[in-house]
């Protein structure tokens, strides 16, 4: 093999071959593993970031609906104006754009001009402009043939069609449509969806591709929430709560919650004062504005911040309070469940009690004492010594066990931000137990209270409260349904049934009378608790001299009640709470209970709860007004009498031309129906007299004499003391047609607790 290759050549060639292949596959392959498999994700991310010269197209935020799909929060389309300075290449174009856009958008010319010169691919000029402004810009572009350099991108604005309604529940959004408070914040991820992008491929210089290489990555719109809030119920709650807040002069605000006891759905949650989520950053309270005005300039920002935070506060889940006598519902439940008491247990009240030697006497609210009483009577009297005795009999261990089981040591887990926990004793002493038995010296939040009470009247189940029932996608498909969650059985169904009866008795004839609504078998308990000196009012109110909490005792007046529902499985529990009332009365029975009655009446009527009267109520049973217009006077009269009503005829005609009340209205038995037989007679009006401070009989007489029909609300049973009219639906002195229905509310005069 002289000509061919030698052995050494072979060997050396092989080595060269091996080195080449090793370098190629070994080193090259390893490097590819590193770059593509190990660092691949990072590199890809960096690549994507530079590949898009994009403009964010905001996703449409999902709506928030009430339980009947009425929209409580919605998003409307607005526009963002973006400048693309890379396309504004001439001085002339800059000037033209700056002068025109500064006019349309009401901006400073210099500022816009500067932005057209910026070394950037896109600059935001103005956000949230409306359709008409957008059209002006598009017209300007068309007229002046400006093909690029200005871009109008879709954005959204949040608005709340019902204004303040349920604002503490709904919360509000910020300028970038991010949820900041309430459901908007708690469900921000579900609501916000995924922003889209307007992507234009770009090269190194930042200009778009030389042909239409524009791609819209469509935004993925957010999910919608269906809440358990009922707009009508919520509206009634807010209306009456605010009315009560003003009347009672509650300087620290008020809150009300209504919940379905069986599944924990919140039907309404109201806090007053609240804010308008359409403009959450404006102070609503005039006192705040005044206080802010008075501050020196450098403190204003900080003070406004504190005030806004106070304004946004959801009192129902954030502010804890001493439940006072309303807590007796829970103490009574514990005692019944443990067999410490039964319906026949006897208690004696002398107006106060020294629970054990060495302790000061703790007084009952009735200084003269309730005397000898049974357990149900003790509840109706809201007798403190009786409950001190019950507490003592329960003992610290059992009391604490139930306290925990009622969910009062943990947050309820309601789907709203800002929930807090109350303050309970680290180590409970016997004296703490005594005062805790009637709800003093510890605090819980209103939502904790209502959930605990719900468990006393729903068969003993502690439910998880929630506001959102369902989450829907854009097409209305259900993404998620909130299931009813029962945390534990606290008391037996039997005890719960007994508690319902006791509480209904309390409203029918005991201390809760002012919350009664005839026809609905309301059960409940009032409460008036002392505020501790160290926990009187929020610091922001005192710090900026908005309210003064020094001197005098302050109270929390509350009423917690439930209404059973005939023919429906649900039962509703309602808590009304006034913080620091400084009006004529500070008692739960005077301040909170009547408001609860009004709320219940409107809410239950709306919710379709059927009325069921007891015998006493039957006397005042309402009758339907028949349709009379067009018929002869004689026939009309006959119809009216047939319905157990009275007829009053005005005018000299033969036929009925109009009637008051209208057909279908409900008025009490033997009330008057006025029928008009000629046009002249319809012109006549009567003046509304003053109805306050009258007994039922006097009020009735006055109404009759004034040719008015009276609709009675509130307490109607005078067996337990005098009842008087407190307010009327039509103001004094107003001229109305004869026969008009005026609603008069009656309260028990001497209820205190």
């Amino acid at each position: 093999m002289a000509k061919g290759t030698t052995i050494r050549m072979w060997r050396r060639s092989l080595l060269v071959l091996i080195i080449l292949v090793a370098a190629l596959v070994g080193v090259g392959g390893t490097k590819l593993v590193l770059l593509q498999l190990v660092q691949g994700k990072n590199l890809q991310q960096m690549a994507i970031e530079q590949q898009r010269k994009d403009i964010v197209v905001s996703a449409k935020r999902g709506s928030i609906y009430d339980r009947n799909m009425k929209p409580l929060a919605q998003s409307a389309t607005v526009w963002t104006v973006v400048l693309e300075p890379v396309y504004i290449d001439s001085e002339e174009k800059s000037q033209l754009i700056a002068s025109e856009l500064s006019k349309i958008l009401e901006l400073d010319y210099e500022e816009v001009f500067k932005k057209t010169k910026e070394n950037s691919s896109s600059v935001i000029l103005k956000k949230k402009i409306e359709n008409d402004v957008k059209d002006k810009i598009l017209n300007f572009q068309k007229e002046k043939h400006i093909r690029n350099g200005i871009r109008v991108v879709e954005d959204h604005k949040r608005y709340y069609p019902y204004g303040c309604l349920a604002s503490v529940v709904l919360g509000f959004t910020g300028t970038d449509n991010q949820g900041l408070w309430g459901l908007e914040s708690y469900y921000d991820r579900e609501l916000s969806g995924q922003d889209g992008r307007l992507v234009t491929a770009r090269n190194a210089s930042g200009t778009d591709m030389p042909f239409e290489h524009e791609q819209m990555i469509s935004p993925k719109n957010g999910y919608s929430l269906v809440t358990s809030i009922d707009e009508t119920v919520q509206h009634a709650m807010e209306k009456y709560l605010e009315e009560g807040r003003i009347n009672s002069k509650s300087v620290n605000g008020a809150t009300a919650i209504m919940m379905d006891v069986n599944n924990g759905e919140i039907l309404g949650m109201a806090v007053k004062k609240d804010y308008d989520p359409n403009k959450p950053f404006e102070l609503e309270d005039q006192d705040f504005l005044k206080a802010l005005e008075a501050l020196p300039e450098n403190e204003k920002t900080k003070a406004k911040h504190a005030m806004l935070n106070y304004q946004w506060r959801n009192k129902a889940v954030t502010d804890s309070y001493c439940p006072g006598s309303t807590f007796k519902i829970l103490t009574a439940s514990m005692a019944l469940e443990e067999g410490v008491v039964d319906e026949n247990s006897k208690f004696h009240c002398t107006g106060g009690l020294i629970p054990f030697p060495g302790v000061k006497k703790i007084r009952c609210h009735k200084r003269t004492g309730h005397g000898s009483q049974t357990f149900p009577e003790a509840i109706c009297h809201s007798c403190n010594p009786a409950f001190m005795k019950i507490g003592q009999d329960l003992g610290i261990e059992r009391f604490c066990k139930y306290f925990r089981n009622f969910g009062l040591r943990e947050k309820t887990g309601i789907d709203l931000p800002g929930e807090t926990n109350g303050i309970f004793f680290q180590n409970m002493r016997p004296i703490d137990l005594i005062v805790s038995s009637f709800g003093q010296n510890f605090t819980i939040t209103p939502i904790q209270m209502i959930v605990a009470v719900a468990s006393c009247v729903n068969g003993g189940k502690l439910v998880q409260p929630h506001v959102v029932k369902q989450i829907l996608d854009e097409g209305g498909n259900i993404i998620k349904t909130t299931d009813k969650l029962i945390k534990r059985q606290v008391i037996s169904a039997d005890t719960s049934r007994k508690m319902c009866e006791l509480l209904q008795k309390n409203v029918a004839e005991g201390s809760g009378k002012n919350g009664n609504v005839p026809g609905f078998r309301i059960g409940g308990k009032t409460g008036t608790s002392e505020k501790k000196p160290d926990n009187k009012g929020p610091s922001v109110l005192e710090k900026y001299n908005i309210r003064n909490f020094s001197g005098g005792k302050d109270y929390v007046a509350s009423f917690v009640a439930f209404a059973p529902s005939e023919g429906k499985e649900s039962k509703y529990v309602l808590l009304v709470l006034y913080d620091t009332p400084r009006g004529n009365s500070y008692y739960g029975s005077q301040v909170a209970a009547p408001i609860a009655g009004k709320i219940f009446y409107d809410a239950l009527m709306h919710l379709g709860v059927r009325k069921k009267y007891n015998e006493k109520e039957l006397i005042n049973l309402e009758k339907n007004v028949p349709f009379l217009v067009g018929s002869t006077v004689d026939k009309a009269k006959a119809d009216i009498y047939k319905n157990e009503l009275q007829a009053i005829i005005k005018g000299n005609g033969d036929y009925v031309v109009s009637q008051i009340p209208e057909a279908g209205e409900k008025i009490p038995k033997n009330a008057k129906v006025v029928i008009y037989t000629d046009e002249m007679s319809t012109q006549r009006k009567v003046k509304v007299p003053k109805f306050s401070g009258l007994s039922l009989a006097d009020a009735n007489k006055l109404a009759f004499n004034s040719d008015l029909n009276m609709n009675i609300l509130g307490v109607t049973d005078s067996s337990n003391g005098e009842i008087v009219s407190s307010n009327q639906s039509i103001p004094v002195g107003e001229m109305v047609s004869a026969g008009t229905i005026i609603t008069v509310r009656f309260v028990q005069k001497d209820t205190v607790e």
Binding site: R8, L20, V21, L24, V33, Q36, G40, Q44, M46, A47
Partner: protein, 401 residues
């Protein structure tokens, strides 16, 4: 005698007959193809690998270039692929023609081609500057890089001289001096262009061929010491500033102040590919991010579109080409053929390795194209001609056929 059922059997009978005929024809055809290769004697494996790489290269070139062509060639997306396709067809013809020529005829051309190389390397210094360097020579409507000829000239002349002086390779006078002269002068001219990647290839090729040719290993030690001295001089005299920035960029391509745009975009592309890639034609980085994606950085587009799996398959195809080229050449009838074949194969291999190292940022960025993939008509024809020479060598090779 067995009775044949005429109702049922004739068809089968006919069919059988026809099958037999078909089989025979097929066998003949197969035989013909084999006969062609046997007759021409070229190595089918190497030929197939070459053509497969050429086809893949063309497909990837189209994918990588069409957008760039749209942007910079007056909206003509097919600009690059059309040109490359024409050159590729021409190249395939050249491939088969050179495979038919007896490579021994190249011996006579070895020295003239070497002189042509020098001439071109000198001429190129007077050509207009493109991208700050003198590399291209215009020949009518075409341009080509002088270094394409240089690489071939070095391989050819070395193969010729080594085989001629094979017995005296251990001496300085015959085994070292002439080669050192050729490499040194060529390297100096390439340094003047400057064309560092080609310089590196020429030096490595020369070293490899001398090594196989049987040079004493201590000469490599001498070259190594010389290299170190040169490096020290360059560092001390601060003449590396041009390369310095590249090295800084190489060490940290993402944060460097140096211009690492191309490297960075290439790495983005490679990383974006992941395991399976974005799919053929779906590269995003080719949209003007990678400058001239049809040239040196085409492999990063390959990685982005075909992923790790695809890229690895292409690396393996190249590795097989190198393996087959060297194995075939080693079995050549004579030493000239063996050295020439190994040299030409190694040249392709080195170019692939350096290109992939540059694209993956394994070594600092230096302009080097990827054989079969990168755009460049004259280079492609040259490459296919060289592959033809390897095939020609394979005809004489002592393979088990």
């Amino acid at each position: 005698m067995k009775k044949i059922n005429l109702d049922t059997t004739p068809f089968n009978f006919k069919n059988k007959k026809r099958k037999a005929v078909l089989k025979k024809q097929k066998k003949e055809l197969k035989g013909n193809i084999r006969a062609f290769f046997l007759k021409s004697g070229i190595d089918m494996t190497f030929c197939t690998l070459t053509l497969v790489l050429l086809v893949i290269g063309l497909v990837m070139l189209f994918s990588a270039s069409f957008f760039n062509a749209y942007c910079y060639q007056n909206g003509d997306s097919y600009f690059f692929i059309r040109n490359q396709l024409i050159w590729a067809l021409l190249g395939v013809v050249v491939l088969f023609l050179t495979s038919l020529i007896d490579y021994n005829k190249l011996k006579k051309l070895a020295i003239p081609i070497l002189f042509l190389s020098y001439l071109l390397l000198l001429a190129v210094l007077f050509m207009p500057v493109r991208n700050d360097v003198h590399r291209w020579i215009a020949l009518g409507p075409f341009t080509f890089q002088a270094s394409e000829i240089t690489k071939f000239a070095v391989v050819l002349s070395f193969a010729y001289l080594i085989s001629k002086n094979f017995k005296h390779m251990s001496t300085f006078r015959y085994g070292v001096f002439p080669f050192a002269l050729i490499v040194g002068s060529t390297a100096f001219l390439l340094y003047l262009e400057p064309h560092i990647s080609c310089l590196v290839i020429v030096v490595l090729l020369a070293g490899g061929m001398l090594y196989i040719g049987g040079i004493k290993l201590r000469w490599f030690g001498v070259v190594f010491i010389f290299f170190l001295a040169a490096l020290a001089y360059l560092i001390l005299s601060n003449k590396l500033s041009y390369a310095n920035e590249r090295i800084i960029g190489w060490l940290d391509p993402f944060n460097s102040t140096a211009d690492t745009w191309q490297t960075r975009q290439g790495l983005y592309a490679i990383g974006s590919g992941g395991l399976l890639g974005l799919g053929l034609g779906k590269s995003r980085q080719k949209y003007l991010f990678i400058p001239e994606p049809q040239n040196d950085f085409i492999f990063s587009v390959v990685c982005e579109e075909l992923g790790f799996i695809g890229a690895l398959i292409i690396l393996l195809l190249f590795a097989m080409l190198i393996w087959r080229g060297i194995v075939v050449s080693m079995r050549a009838r004579d030493k000239f053929g063996a050295l020439l074949g190994i040299g030409l194969t190694a040249q392709v291999g080195l170019q692939v390795i350096l290109n992939i190292f540059v694209v993956t940022n394994t070594i600092p960025n230096t302009g080097i194209s990827l054989p079969f993939f990168s755009y460049g008509g004259t280079a492609l024809v040259m490459l296919l001609a060289q592959m033809g020479i390897v095939l020609s060598i394979s005809r004489t090779a002592n393979l088990e056929k």
